[in-house]
C-alpha cells in the first residue's frame, strides 16, 4: 500500500492548482472527442452554412447582375459568410460545453470537484478553458473549408484568426456558464440554440452586411432602424467584423474595436461566472 507516500512530494499550492486545471481541461477535451453528436454538428454546420447557403446566395451577391451593379463589396458571399460561420461553430460548441455544467451539477461530477482541494476559480477556469479549447477545434474545422470559400489563408492570418477565435470561445463559454448557472431545470440544448446562439448570430451582420458604402443615415434608409440598432449593439457584430478583417481583409469597424469588445466580453462574463460560482 502506498498510502502516505505523497507526504514527501506534496507540491506547492500553485503546482497543485495547475495540475488540477490540467485535469479538468483534459476531461473536457476527452469528453468532446468522445462525443460523436457534437462532432457531427461541428462538421455539418460549416458544410450547410458555407457550402449550401454560401453557394446558394453567392450569385445574388455579385457586384453585377448582368450589367446591373447592386451592392459593391470587395468579396464574394462565400468569403463574406465564412468568418461568420467560424464564429457560429465556435459559439455552438462553446455553449454546448458550457451547458454540461448543468449535467455536472445534476449528476455529481461537480460535487466530486467541489470537494477537491482546488479553488473555485481553478475549477471554473478549467471548465471554461476546456470548453474553449473544444470550441476552438470546432472553429478550425470551418477553417478547413477556406480553400472552398476562396479565403487566402496565410500563416499570419491563421494565427491572428486563431487568437481571436480563442478569446471569442472563452467569452462565449463564460456566457454559457453564466446562463447555465441561472437555470434550475434543464430543457435540453435546443433552448440554448434557439434562445441564445441563433439570435446572436443572425443579428451580428454575420449573414448579411450592413452595406459599408452607405453612410449612417443611408443605412437607416436601407434597413429598418430597429434592425440597425440591434446589430449595432450586438457585441458579436464586432467580433465577426474583426475575424473578417483577419480572414478576408475587410472590416467595417476598426480592428481594435473588435478585439476590444471580445476581450472585454471575456473578462466581464468570466467575472460574472466566477461570482455566481463562488455563491453557488
Amino acid at each position: 500500500m502506498s498510502r502516505g507516500d505523497g507526504a514527501g512530494v506534496r507540491r506547492s499550492w500553485l503546482a497543485a492548482q495547475l495540475g488540477g486545471l490540467y485535469g479538468l481541461w483534459l476531461r473536457e477535451v476527452i469528453r468532446a472527442i468522445r462525443d460523436r453528436g457534437q462532432l457531427i454538428g461541428g462538421a455539418s454546420r460549416p458544410i450547410l452554412w458555407v457550402l449550401i447557403l454560401g453557394i446558394g446566395l453567392n450569385p445574388y451577391f455579385r457586384g453585377e447582375v448582368y450589367g446591373q451593379a447592386s451592392f459593391v463589396v470587395p468579396f464574394t458571399y462565400l468569403q463574406f459568410i465564412f468568418p461568420g460561420v467560424v464564429a457560429l461553430n465556435v459559439m455552438f460548441t462553446s455553449v454546448q460545453s458550457a451547458v454540461s455544467v448543468v449535467w455536472d451539477r445534476q449528476f455529481g461530477f461537480m460535487r466530486e470537484v467541489l470537494t477537491s482541494p482546488l479553488s473555485r476559480t481553478t475549477i471554473l477556469l478549467g471548465k471554461i478553458l476546456g470548453g474553449s479549447t473544444v470550441a476552438l477545434m470546432h472553429g478550425c474545422l470551418v477553417l478547413l473549408l477556406a480553400r472552398f470559400a476562396d479565403i487566402p489563408l496565410t500563416i499570419l492570418g491563421a494565427v491572428q484568426a486563431l487568437g481571436l477565435m480563442a478569446i471569442l470561445s472563452f467569452a462565449v463559454t463564460s456566457l454559457g456558464v453564466v446562463i447555465a448557472n441561472r437555470i434550475r431545470t434543464f430543457e435540453g440544448f435546443g433552448v440554448f440554440s434557439n434562445a441564445v446562439i441563433m439570435p446572436l448570430y443572425f443579428t451580428s451582420s454575420s449573414m448579411f452586411p450592413l452595406d459599408p458604402s452607405l453612410s449612417k443615415d443611408q443605412t437607416y434608409v436601407t434597413y429598418p432602424e430597429w434592425l440597425v440598432t440591434i446589430v449595432t449593439y450586438n457585441p458579436l457584430t464586432y467580433a465577426v467584423d474583426a475575424l473578417r478583417g483577419v480572414l478576408i481583409g475587410y472590416h467595417q469597424f476598426p480592428m481594435w474595436m473588435g478585439i476590444g469588445v471580445v476581450v472585454a466580453a471575456a473578462v466581464i462574463l468570466f467575472s460574472i461566472a466566477l461570482y455566481d460560482f463562488g455563491r453557488a
Binding site: 450589367g67 459593391v72 470587395p74
Partner: protein, 265 residues
C-alpha cells in the same frame, strides 16, 4: 505506448470529419469553368489598343493577349476577343460598361486595386506597372531639367507625378506618343522621360538607355486579369494556368518580347 486501437477510438471520428471537410473543398463551388469548357472558348473583353498589353496588331497582339492565349490553350479552349473601347480609360472597371454576357475575362489595363476588387475578382498579378523614368544619361538632380511625360490612356496618378516633378524643380513637357518622347530624348530636348513602366522598359531596351521606377511615393500597380465575382472555378483554373506559365518561364519570355527586361517589382 500509444495503442493503435485506442488512438483510433479517440481520434478516428475526428479524422473522418477532417477528411470529409477536406474532401468537400474539392467540390466545384460554381459552373463558370464548366461553361467555358462547354462553349469551347474563353471570351475576353479587351480594349482596342493599350500598348504594350494590347496592341491590335495580329502578329504582336500584346502581353495580356498572348498570356490569355497561353492560358486558354492550357484550359484546352480557344480565346475569343470582344473589343470594348471603354476598358482602360480609367482605373475604375465599373465605368467600363461590361456585363457577364459579353465575356468571362477582362484584360488590358486591369490593375489590382481595392476599387477593382469591389467589382471584380482578380487573377494573381502577372506584371507590375506604374511611372518609370528613362534617360540617356543617369540623372541625379532634377532641378531645372526638362522632363518629357507620356501619360498612358489609363488613370495613372498624373497629379501626383506633376506635383512631385514640380517639387523637385523640373519642367514638364507633355508628349502624345512614344516616338515623340524618344525623339525628344535623342535630341536632348528632354533630360529624361517619364511614362508607364512596361512601355518605358521597352523604349529603354530599344535605345539602350537606363530605366528606373519613379520614386515609391507614386503608386505602383499589379497588372491582373479581371474575372466576375463568384466564378471561383474559372478563377482557380486561370490562376493555376498562370502559375504554370510563370514556372515554365513563358510569362517572362512574353514580357521580354514586349518590354525588354521588365523592371523588377
Amino acid at each position: 505506448m500509444p495503442d493503435p486501437r485506442r488512438l483510433a477510438r479517440n481520434f478516428g471520428a475526428i479524422g473522418v470529419i477532417v477528411g470529409l471537410l477536406l474532401a468537400v473543398t474539392f467540390l466545384p463551388p460554381d459552373n463558370a469553368l464548366h461553361e467555358v469548357r462547354a462553349s469551347g472558348a474563353l471570351r475576353a473583353c479587351t480594349p482596342a489598343t493599350y500598348p504594350p498589353l494590347v496592341t491590335g496588331n495580329p502578329d504582336r497582339p500584346g502581353i495580356d493577349i498572348e498570356l490569355l492565349k497561353a492560358v486558354a490553350a492550357r484550359l484546352g479552349v480557344d480565346l475569343a476577343l470582344n473589343v470594348n473601347d471603354a476598358i482602360g480609360r480609367d482605373f475604375n472597371p465599373r465605368n467600363w460598361g461590361l456585363t457577364r454576357a459579353q465575356c468571362q475575362v477582362i484584360a488590358g489595363g486591369v490593375v489590382d486595386s481595392q476599387q477593382t476588387r469591389s467589382f471584380l475578382e482578380t487573377s494573381p498579378p502577372h506584371a507590375r506597372t506604374g511611372w518609370a523614368v528613362i534617360s540617356p544619361q543617369p540623372l541625379n538632380d532634377w532641378t531645372d531639367r526638362t522632363i518629357g511625360v507620356l501619360a498612358p490612356v489609363s488613370g495613372f496618378d498624373r497629379i501626383g507625378l506633376a506635383s512631385l516633378l514640380r517639387d523637385r524643380g523640373a519642367r514638364i513637357v507633355v508628349v502624345r506618343t512614344a516616338d515623340e518622347l524618344v525623339a525628344g530624348l535623342t535630341a536632348r530636348r528632354f533630360d529624361a522621360g517619364v511614362t508607364e513602366a512596361l512601355l518605358a522598359s521597352r523604349l529603354a531596351d530599344e535605345q539602350r538607355w537606363p530605366v528606373a521606377w519613379a520614386p515609391p511615393s507614386l503608386q505602383r500597380y499589379g497588372l491582373v486579369f479581371g474575372l466576375w465575382k463568384g466564378d471561383l472555378t474559372l478563377k482557380r483554373a486561370i490562376g493555376g494556368a498562370l502559375h504554370d506559365l510563370e514556372a515554365s518561364g513563358t510569362t517572362a519570355a512574353i514580357l521580354r518580347r514586349y518590354s525588354g527586361a521588365p523592371l523588377s517589382p
